[in-house]
Amino acid sequence: MTWRILVAEDEGLAAMALEDELLRAGYEVVLAPDGQAALEAADRTPPDLLLTDLRMPRLDGSGLIRALRAARPGLPVVVMTGYAPAGGASAFGRDGEGPVALFPKPLDMDAVLAELRKLLPGP
């Protein structure tokens, strides 16, 4: 089977490049320009992993993670951000988002791909 990754990223150019990278790596990709759109997309086609930005219009990354994890607590999440929250990755436990993998922007794409392979083991 092909793993489906939901990408929530408001920077269109970055989202397009990410899509290319993920498709090349063999994943199925669903793009969403903000948290709210991502939530709606997840309703239609439940993803196997969420790759999300933090600062987005309408619904931010933290809200999106909380909403998705409320229905699926085990959903793997990878966060990419240009604005590191105080406390780093550990800050995500506080409001019920649960554990995440955190990558600062600009992304080290090789490290992100490695993390994805770890979270979504090959078939």
């Binding site: 970055a14 990278e21 240009g82 604005y83 406390g87 600009p106 992304l107 794409m109």
Partner: protein, 521 residues
Amino acid sequence: MGVEILTLPVRTSLAPGLCTLVDPDLIYLHLISDVAIGLAYFSIPAALLIFARRRRDLAYPWVVLLFAAFIIACGTTHLMHAWTMFRPDYETEGLVKVVTAAISVTTAILLWPLLPRLLALPSPQALAREVEERRIAEARALASEARTAAFIEHLPEALFVLRPGPRGDFTAEAVNPAFERLYGIEDASIRGHDMAEVLPPALLARLLPHWRQAMETRRPVDYTTEAETGIGWRVWQTILVPMVGPDGQVERLLGSARDITMTRRLQADLLQSARLATIGTMCAGLAHETSQPLNAAMLWTRNARAVADGMEPAESADRLRQSLGIIEGQLRRAGDLVGRIRALPGEDEGTPQPFDAAATAASALRLAMGQYAGEGIDFALHSQASTLPVQGVPARLEQALLQLLANARDAVLDRREREPDAPMQIVLTLREEPGEAVLEVEDSGPGVPEGLRDAIFDPFFTTREPGRGSGLGLPLAAAVARGMGGGIEARNRPEGGALFSMRLALAPMASLPAGGAVTNQ
């Protein structure tokens, strides 16, 4: 000539003065009485004279003499009267009476004008009352003095009294216990000594102009001094009041000094915090906004590289890949800078935990010594505290100390470049102060220019040429110190070179993990 009782004049030959005395019993009565009165009158002046001689403080001694003369004269009159019963020396008796009359009248005349003055003299009761009042006043004065002494004894301000000497020198006359505490100098070693013997020459040179100003203007002088004292670096504010004598010359300088080290530090911290908060917000915004286009650019570079992989001819593809590699390298460099700026607020690198700062400091020094081995720098660790429990992220503290050590090393090498004989020393000192762990890095470099002492903690401030030094090292160290409940300050050592003092809040010793094994993550 004797008094012959048996040959008393007979009734027929009566002495003229006693013509009325016909009865011998009456004659005896007069005779005995006159003699008794005369003798008694003679004894009273003797008593008066003894009294006058003993009491030298008598208000009007001549009155006593006058009384004595008056009484003697009266006594003589009586004796003379007795005498004339046997011998008719009436001329002599009359003469004696004239003298007595003169003395009596004089006494009577002189006594009346004297009376008001005698009455004005305080009575023994009045004197006793006055003595009692004085005694109470004195007791009150003593109590007041004791209160003032206790006040001065326990005043938090350091008090001192300087006596100016003829050669422009100053001698310490007195200091209070607060003075001893503030400067770490004992009273015995300063009282009565020329200040030139007590104070280091550099400090004296800074204080003398103020003392002389007080001497010349005769007005209070207010000044602030900072220096290394017997108990460490101190900042104090002094008010010097000149005491002018009756001849118009300044006799003493009364000084009171207040330790404002803590206030100064708090002020500086506050200023630094406010400035860094502004800059921090700016940096965080800048980092975020810059990271977005950098991110897109890097992703698209990878994308382009993937396209280049299948391109023909191979030569062009190589050229393209090489170009993309250079672009990616530059983007990565920009990305690293963004990452470093982002790390400044410093809360994204692990969970704070209790750890031993002394162990972390020792390990940082070892790392630096390894890194700079062979450069001829003399590293030393002066540890006055074996364990310094603090709360924070050990790796961050190590990073901050490595930064301070790297700066020290650069400073030492800089000076050495200009002065081939300059010493090359870096000392890391660890000690515990009340509630604080103090970590100090001293170097034998050129020191920090006074005007730049605050600016050096601003991000991107650097004295190095472009390309050397990011200007993010000291801000990082400052952010780490603040994150650990403390702060950092820079100053120059009296013997040259810079000293960076990092203060961290002490954590309870019991909070340290058993064995103190955790030093780094």
